[in-house]
């Protein structure tokens, strides 16, 4: 089973919820935690894995043989991403603009371009107690994260509980992280920002055909706007975690929420029970 934890708005508590869920679930079953927020991965700060393996992730990029190049300009013409500039005596590649589509090497009439590779980040694998752990780290300065997110997701293990910590937002990196999940848990906070971005995240997950449910974090007791949203869209409001300064301080020092508040475990046990009995399949409509 693949559970994605997403939010739209950043900082609502995705990592807090995902890491607590992993810890509670690992008491009874095999769990793999996949941190797909490759721009700013933080799951390792909460779960403190021991690393076993590190692999470089590369994307295809043109390699230009200047001796064969006739500077005809075909490559720059076919490149939709403006990653190639051809001058009378020079070809320039802007590597971070390149999407690796292969148009330039396919169409070069002089056969001067061949596919090469460029590193965009690393996938690191390890374990934290009984929890398997994988995350990606995008190299600073790289613009395109989805291929790295894909590389993290290639480590998904069928037959066990896979928990994906998604990046914030609603555009391509989030889509890549959430696509193919069995269920998406949307973590929000009871503010206009939280609600606004919850609506967007819900639209994103629904567009991908992934059923979702909502968890409220930092609740001050007045979650009526979120409750209404869930009711109107017929999605379950699974649990509410109260605003708690001690939990915030624990988070600050890398201590998972359920270690600060063991009584919160019941929320995660209830969520696991909900997932187990396939509650999400019924709310998918």
């Amino acid at each position: 089973m693949i559970i994605a934890v997403a939010s739209g708005k950043g900082g609502t508590g995705k990592t807090t919820v995902a890491s607590s869920l992993a810890l509670v679930a690992a008491e009874k079953r095999e769990v793999l935690f996949l941190d797909c927020d490759v721009e700013e991965p933080n799951g390792h700060i909460m779960l403190k894995p021991h690393w076993h393996k590190k692999e470089t992730v590369r994307v295809p990029v043109p390699e230009i043989n200047r001796e064969k190049c006739t500077f005809c300009g075909t490559c720059a013409e076919v490149c939709a991403f403006h990653a190639l500039v051809v001058l009378p005596q020079e070809v320039m590649l802007l590597p971070t603009m390149c999407h690796g589509c292969g148009g330039c090497w396919h169409f070069c009439p002089a056969g001067a371009i061949s596919p090469g590779w460029r590193e965009i980040g690393q996938v690191e694998e390890g374990s934290s107690g009984k929890i398997g752990f994988v995350h990606g780290r995008l190299n600073v300065g790289e613009a395109i994260s989805p291929p790295l997110i894909q590389a993290v997701k290639e480590r998904i293990r069928p037959g066990i509980l896979n928990i994906i910590d998604a990046p914030p937002g609603t555009s391509c990196p989030v889509v890549r992280a959430v696509k193919g999940a069995d269920f998406c848990l949307l973590v929000t906070e009871p503010t206009p920002f939280g609600l606004h971005d919850l609506e967007l995240a819900y639209e994103m997950a629904t567009g991908l055909g992934v059923p979702c449910g909502v968890a409220v974090n930092r609740s001050d007791g007045d979650d009526s706007s979120i409750r209404r949203f869930c009711h109107n869209n017929n999605i379950p409001l699974l649990f509410q975690l109260p605003q708690d300064r001690e939990v915030a301080r624990g988070y600050a020092r890398g201590i998972p929420a359920i270690e600060v508040r063991p009584e919160w475990k019941e929320h995660f046990l209830a969520l696991l029970a909900f997932l187990e009995r396939g509650g999400y399949a019924r709310c998918a409509n």
Binding site: G10, T12, P60, G141, A143, G169, C172, P192, D197, R218
Partner: protein, 288 residues
């Protein structure tokens, strides 16, 4: 004219709250919201929409089945697995590279305009706000960020404003990169947590990578003063000044809940912190 870009790396550290307060304090400026995935600044500024324009991303492929002879060349060439059986293009997976368009021997592939979002201009009691909404699941966030910044710049020039305040996206990827290139100052809003420190370092590296001057504001600094000291040492290692300290203040959530910039109703120490931050930013930006 100067441009101040507010970034954070980690989400939810308080970029929009800080921007909302700067919007109240700064006169003679244009506001821009470049968090095009999840734009929130307008929720604080009570805007009146003045105009809206469509934003087109890269054209996407579409296959005309009448012309297609089923040679499979497009399927073979597409690196994004965007061509489904039956020669139907998946618009989410298609990145618009057009390799199929150029390669198709029967001219069956057309590249069609693709509406990827909207660009908005609104008036607020604190001045103009340029904002946008990227369509769900779109991949043109960097391009839309550039369009928002360009519009803000045009407007600021036309209206002879001395400052653009840009609320940026979280992360360090495509939209963040598009947001900071050419900015006069990047203000990074950081929080005193282990995650906040980890993420701050990556944003500071990003700013350095692109040759941008940076400054840091520590939000909720008193939540974990020890971690705040660690953020200070991190900043000094990167030769970046800490220009603001904002306290952990529950009235911030109240203010956000009621959709108002916090400075209008917060406690004394919060107000002082915001005023001091704005004073330092003015100096760094050489504003009057």
């Amino acid at each position: 004219m100067r441009e101040l870009v507010v970034l954070s790396g980690k989400g939810g550290t308080g970029k929009t709250t800080v921007c909302g307060n700067l919007a109240v304090l700064a006169s003679n400026k244009v506001m821009a919201d470049c968090d095009v995935d999840a734009a929130n600044l307008y929720l604080l500024l009570d805007p009146v929409l003045k105009s809206s324009s469509p934003f087109y991303g890269l054209k996407k492929a579409s296959i005309n089945r009448e012309k297609c002879m089923g040679c499979n060349l497009c399927l073979h060439l597409c690196r994004y697995d965007a061509i489904r059986p039956g020669f139907v293009v998946d618009p989410v997976l298609c990145e618009g590279c057009a390799i199929c368009y150029h390669a198709c021997p029967c001219g069956a592939v057309e590249m069609i305009e693709h509406l990827a979002g909207h660009l908005f201009l609104s008036d607020t009691r604190y001045g103009y706000l340029v904002h946008a909404r990227l369509g769900i699941a779109e991949d043109n966030s960097g391009k839309l960020v550039a369009a928002v910044r360009k519009e803000a710049r045009r407007l600021a020039e036309e209206e002879k404003k001395e400052l653009i305040i840009t609320d940026g996206p979280p992360g360090i990827g495509c939209p963040a990169i598009s947001c900071l290139s050419g900015a006069d100052l990047v203000l990074v809003v950081a929080e005193p947590t282990f995650s906040g420190s980890h993420d701050l370092e990556r944003v500071l590296e990003l700013a350095k990578h692109f040759g941008c001057r940076a400054a840091v504001c520590i939000n909720k600094w008193d939540l974990e003063p020890e971690n705040s000291h660690a953020l200070e040492s991190l900043c000094s290692r990167h030769s970046v000044p800490v220009v603001g300290y904002l306290p952990y203040d529950e009235s911030v959530m109240e203010a956000v809940k009621s959709g108002r910039p916090v400075i209008q109703e917060c406690s004394g120490s919060m107000k002082k912190g915001i005023l001091a931050l704005w004073g330092k930013l003015k100096t760094l930006l050489e504003l009057r």
